[in-house]
């Protein structure tokens, strides 16, 4: 994935491998209040591109602009400034929508339709022939394990069933770009594993997938490409941020932690200290034996050494704190 910061300008040309391209995207919502107009800038000059065969996770706190970004790519809303292209075509154009699959956070269906009728309805909207619709419906039933509820009316569906059906309708046209807003909402553990496998299959077949999710653990199992958003801006690529933050080592001690930290280690390396434990920042795992040797020579009685890497959740929290207090 190529991330273009505002000061670097827009990407110069459209690459055949680029599935989604956003250039200097700004979205301002205007709300008419009693006697004045309130404006909310949901996105500020966001530029990015997503390649085919790539899964990108959008992470960030509530109100960060994740859904706004997805909605702009889906063509549901229009940008105040900037432009979005999907498969080389302007978002919202029929050609762009031809290669697009979209699954909203809260999928809604006609209550009187069964899952099968809903799938047939969406197949018809896609312009498929009667035979193709039947084949696609059968494939979707198999792919998303919908046999149990395929002929039940949608009004009786649980959230998980709705999510499966929404995903089935989103991937019916074998999209080149798939946009998912909280796709694992309400899914049971088996459903989550099936979803993960399906998304990996789609990625391997060349589909670009953009996921907005608060389930960071799930996202971590799918991709290492994250966009961390805060207050309408892409703060950083999360994997770069994680690498920048480095790893840390936890050294267990019998006693004397504060004295050892003060006399043997530079203050910038010590992240946390207690009587029986030191948490130290390391830029390279190869440095750990040297640190341990240095501590042992200084008289430390070491009980354990654990090398830990910051996971996506810790990265998220750190970036949130940095974003809130730049």
């Amino acid at each position: 994935m190529l991330l273009v910061q505002p000061d670097q300008g827009p990407p110069s040309h459209h690459d055949a491998q680029t599935a989604v391209e956003c250039t200097q995207l700004t979205k301002v919502y205007k709300k008419l209040l009693a006697r004045r107009t309130r404006t909310v800038c949901a996105l500020k000059q966001v530029s990015l591109s997503v390649c085919r065969g790539q899964i990108v996770g959008l992470i960030g706190p509530n109100g960060a602009g994740k859904s706004t970004l997805l909605n702009l790519v889906a063509g549901l809303i229009l940008p105040t400034e900037g432009q979005v292209t999907v498969c080389g075509h302007p978002a919202r154009s029929v050609k762009a929508r031809d290669g697009l699959g979209y699954m909203p956070e809260h999928p809604a269906f006609l209550g009187g339709y069964s899952a099968r009728a809903t799938l047939r309805y969406h197949g018809a909207l896609l312009g498929l022939s009667r035979g193709a619709i039947t084949r696609q419906v059968d494939r979707s039933i198999q792919q998303l394990q919908m046999q149990e509820f395929i002929d039940r009316p949608c009004s009786d569906f649980s959230q998980g069933m709705k999510q499966r059906l929404a995903l089935a309708t989103a991937i019916m046209n074998d999209p080149q770009v798939l946009l998912l807003d909280e796709p694992s909402n309400g899914l049971d553990p088996v459903g989550i594993i099936q979803l993960r496998d399906l998304l990996k299959q789609l990625r391997d077949s060349g589909t670009a997938i953009v996921i907005s999710s608060h389930r960071l653990g799930e996202l971590e199992k799918l991709t290492c490409d994250y966009l961390f958003m805060h207050r309408g801006q892409i703060i950083t690529l999360a994997d770069q941020a994680a690498a920048g933050a480095g790893e840390h080592v936890r050294v267990g001690l019998v006693s004397d932690g504060p004295r050892l930290a003060e006399t043997l280690l530079p203050a910038s390396q010590v992240l946390d200290v207690s009587e029986t434990e030191l948490v130290l920042a390391v830029n390279d795992p190869a440095d750990v034996p040297d640190i341990v040797t240095q501590l042992a020579k200084g008289g430390a009685r070491i009980t354990s050494v654990v090398l830990q890497r910051e996971n996506i959740e810790e990265t998220f929290l750190r970036l949130c704190n940095e974003g809130c207090n730049p």
Binding site: Y29, G63, V94, R97, P104, L110, G112, Y113, L126, R130
Partner: protein, 253 residues
Amino acid sequence: MRAWELMKETFLRRRHIWIVHLTWLVFYGLFWWLFLPDPEEYGGFLFLWGGFLLPLALSAGIMGDDIASGRMCVLVTKPFWLGEVYLYRLLGLSLQAALHFILAGCVILVLHLVTRKGTMAGLGLWFLACWLLFNTYAALSTSLSVVIKGVHNSLLLFLGTLTLSAVAAMVIWNLQDHPMAEVVKGFFRYPFPPFEFLGHLGKGDYAKQTLALGGAGIPKSVACAAHSLILTTIYAGIGVRLLTRRQFSTHRD
């Protein structure tokens, strides 16, 4: 396939739709059975219930429901011109109305044959007038539904029609002998659903003129039908434009 599915859902989208059809048919039958009206009175009743109230009941939330529930967001991402959603839904309503009036005619015919009461004379023209009025109101209501969430489009149109009718009646009454009276009448007659013209068409006034004047009523009938169809097209055009330019989510995460 797409056209059929979009038309079909105008009937299947809510459970109350078939209840409305059934209830209206029962009303038509009861009115015939209980009041034995003359054709003009019965035509007026059909015109009000079938031409005015039926489209409001059938088109309540026809777009607004989907916009409010978020279902429209998925339709917007499908690869076809968004105006098709509007046009096929309007066509679906119009077809429903056509079938509804055919069934209503059958109900009345059966009652007429069973009871040997009343007359069927002139009802065909009333049904045509009802269908034309239905289309204009359906287009107006569907266009309102693009900008008004939920089922409030029909309620607003109902109240708007009552208010406008009252205002029109009051203004025209006060300007009876004023030279501006015709201009004011024109303002109320032409841009709004043509109750007055279609009422004349249903009553057979234009047909009577044809008999009396030797063909002069035919252009009036055609002009009346054309006027209502042009209004339907204009209302639909506005609705399509609103729908294709609309943004479908101001939701912020």
